[in-house]
Symmetry: D2
Subunit: 334 residues, 4 copies
């Protein structure tokens, strides 16, 4: 019931890891917009598997086909649907997964919620693969935002607590060799936003962006501006002094507020960070349960997996930010 | 446009600091529920001003009047509206506030969004006072959740980075004497939740709770379970092993997932933390701007204010958690 | 759960016939709008009881008090709440109503839906009195639409099948004397609407207006333009030929489409009609059931009632049209 | 923005007449439901073109492919997407349609709303072809409702004012020969509904069904129970007397209320009628305008078209009723 997001730019993500397809249905794209398909492909490629030595080797070219909503290559006011075919065949051999949930995964909660009929193949609808259609929606939003002078870029802040590239590289090698995984933190900056976006209380930019970013599997924390660090600060230190820039607009000398005051953009860069837990799929033996026999059992997850999902999650964070920001931008025009 | 929250338990908060009243309109309360008004009053009293030496001395008994939705003291299926009259008179002397926004407050962004007609008195609709109707909605949700065996309790984890009561007390005294303020962190635990609440992606429990908690002014970060710490951990450490409890249900030996996997409750305690920035209202001179003359000016905020809003925010965090959890509980029954 | 309407101009109606108050909570009013309270009062007076010889003698001055959302008499971007106090005291004597539902009323369905705890006094939340807050929301929307050159007026087309004023007068006298009631039809015309309002399929102007108009108790049918008559026509007759007006815009020579094509306004007057069933409260003995004893019983409804609700429903129809149209107008600007 | 409908059973329709595909994305289907694909195909065949001598000869087997949401033939809790490929190629020859809107069609309003970029081929998103995905969603809802003992059937009441089959046949032959078209009325009956579905005011069953039924192109009126006829009746005649059936439930001796009182189902059959205007596409010359040259011009619409859309609209009305009823049924369980 909640693969949907947004009010004016509203989309629903569909698909499972081993369904015929994954995709997204979008309402609210302006008429006359010709998506740059090459740029969209390049954006999707940044999250694609198989593009680095620390990512899974499952290899699929995630090329979206727009089956509805375009006419002569541009939007026409109709609902847009883009699909990405799943080329990896559904294998029948998921018996252990049906019985034994992987620690840290949604296997157990999906069983409780949907019963024995939930789709276990490849994680079903809880697969990280579902971030591909999020990146389709987000990639389109990024193109539309760019037209308005808004740029959104995310980057890895730390992996396993390390910030130095060399230290990260060494940590990843070690973790991969050990059959283990590691988490990290991604920071995202949105520049060029007009002041005045967002609504009070539940419609603030923090609320909207958090709602979007927590949709990315493995995100366990979101903070804006100084974030948790603000909990250690004094008002005299955290308050960002206002001043008039020579060029006109009001600015702040520091940006502890992360571009958001009272839920509404201030015109300063909107800055947030998302914490990712380590990929739950690891090669080591773990304790689990058999949901049918009600016994405690040992589980060793087989097959390919990313030792660090953070590497591929950077465009997903940009996409999540983009859909929230673009939706707020459209709303602000009513 | 977003003083509203929820889908099955849906409410809209209204009012401004110096309007005749603040309050809340709620749809979705079950018929035949007789709110415990005494318990609700006690809950509201926990966030009321004037109940401690480090809170503002503005003194108002926040007693909600239920003007609609009850018949003979119980709900009857009709929309419920509760109002709290504002007894502090609106003063005409807000000229400086109209011109000079307080750093760290929503004064500037409200001006950009609503223009010169925004309500500046006491912070208008951005006043922390609007958390009182949130506590009315949340207080009702807490009573309904208690009937289902769900308990929600928040507590202060740290203030200004200090966790020891004595250190906190000393820090508050120092900060108050200096005319400054300080931030902190609150942790909230929801116990007794059934497994299976929440929906995939944008409808996960993290998304919903974050959307509710960021409605509390001054919250700049939200994390679940291990949260940002998970970004430093390895999968073998962060993954919570499953086991069958003697009493039947599946449990996990640790709770780094904070009771949520794939957005859905696991049946383990749901745990989250919210970071609060320091109260932006401080007694010290600050840099700001005159929005009309376009000059940089000095501002000294007058009047009463809390040196640490965290002290009064504890029931607000419980209320935010309660409305999100109760809404998800109702949804799970469709 | 559905006392709410709209997406950009969104409101929730609350109250019961004998609750302390009825009212409405509105999000989405533009900032800086100073409602003309006198005009609003005059609009409400048109639906007020006691203003004619064929309307109930219950006499209440329905003067809304704006307890939130205004500052210095104008909107400020905050949620608006207006309340109308119920001055008629709740009487304890509703024992028969609790047991014996009135034919044609919601008494029975409210019992099924909300159980014995539903509010029976005066029809509870199903009372026609709840159209007063609809008229508050609609009255504000009408003022805002007038600024944009949009005018909405409804009128009685027929009562009991009669269209001539003298015939209607004579019918009403007869019906009143007989302790009976009679239905009718109201037509509403919206002029000055820009072309292009409304959305495809479920968001068309017919869908939106129908959703609003069916909220008025006793409405059992809604038709647009030629409506049911179109079911008897040929395409060559019903199709409205386009032409260019001297003044510029495209117009149609006839208006069988009622100003709506494909759900979207054409710029021609938007025309619809609503059919009202006769007031179910009549003075004659009727067959009903005792919900507790499960016996068939006779019921004679006591007390005041309107022999023809259509007389007072005219401003309600205008209000329903106004909220739907104004909401669509705001949406069209995103 | 409003190809979406529903709250618990929520779907979005996509596609245009000549896009690669049309289809529907659905959230809220229960897990473990195995759609009867044969029954769904038979249901879709009832609205398919080319199945009678008075329907267009465009021939397409509307077989939906479920690209997401099923696992091993049953739902699994994931979003469902079904697509129907359009096999008729997009022709480049729409120059006249781009310039000259067809009277009675959405051509002109689509131009105003979406500008020159709207999709004109085959009516674009306003094509009656978009009722096929409505029938997919409705067909699934019908199967789910049947499990609960709810049956929904529609039938033609009249065409061009004629009710007798022979008179209808003769009228259709005449109209077809003349290159003209004709409208009609369809009645729909929902049996087996539990009492208590629907919500007050804007969430009543009339509001919901009207919102769904007006999504079918050409519908210009909707009435429930006695409908417009109720406007001619007296209360003593229109009020349906309650009685206890031998089998237990409360029933009414007549059903002028059409199974709905106060917006809520009474347990009596839910009955409504929809008025269809004549198909606007006719073979006769009509007056229109050239949107670019701003001249009044003559238009003769070429190509296949139905002389009477009512013949194929029967399952569409059932589908619209089914999605509204099933959504209300799920809501009633919260």
């Amino acid at each position: 019931m909640s693969n949907s997001f947004g009010s004016r730019f509203r989309f629903t993500i569909f698909g499972q890891s081993h369904a015929p397809a994954i995709g997204v249905t979008i309402e609210g794209l302006p008429s006359g917009f010709a998506p740059d398909m090459e740029a969209l492909g390049a954006f999707l490629a940044r999250r694609a598997p198989g593009n680095g030595k620390y990512t899974t080797t499952r290899k699929e070219a995630d090329v979206p086909e727009f089956i509805a909503g375009l006419a002569d290559g541009h939007t026409c006011g109709a609902t847009v649907t883009a699909v990405i075919r799943n080329t990896n065949a559904r294998s029948g051999d998921y018996d252990e997964l049906r019985r034994v949930p992987r620690p840290g995964h949604a296997d157990y909660t999906a069983f409780v919620k949907y019963g024995p009929d939930r789709d276990v193949a490849g994680g079903g609808q809880f697969s990280g693969r579902l971030t591909a259609p999020l990146c389709v929606a987000g990639g389109l939003a990024l193109q539309l935002l760019a037209r308005e002078g808004v740029g959104i870029r995310a980057r890895i802040v730390s992996i396993g607590g390390e910030s130095e590239p060399a230290a990260i590289e060494s940590l990843l090698a070690e973790v991969k060799a050990a059959g283990d995984s590691v988490g990290g933190v991604i920071e995202c900056v949105c520049e060029g936003l007009p002041a005045g976006l967002g609504e009070p209380m539940f419609g603030g930019m923090e609320n909207r962006i958090a709602q979007a970013v927590f949709a990315i599997p493995a995100v366990k924390g979101v903070e804006f501006g100084a974030g948790f660090q603000a909990g250690r600060m004094r008002g005299s230190e955290n308050n960002d002094p206002f001043y008039f820039d020579e060029t006109g607009p009001v600015r702040t000398r520091t940006n502890h507020h992360g571009g958001i005051l009272g839920g509404i953009t201030s015109g300063m860069p909107l800055v947030f960070r998302a914490a990712f837990k380590p990929t739950p799929s690891i090669g080591l033996e773990q304790d689990s349960v058999d949901l049918y026999s009600h016994e405690n059992v040992k589980l060793t997850v087989k097959g390919r997996h990313d030792p660090c999902i953070v590497l591929r999650a950077v465009p997903c964070v940009e996409a999540a930010a983009a859909v929230a920001v673009y939706d707020a931008l459209l709303e602000s025009r009513c």
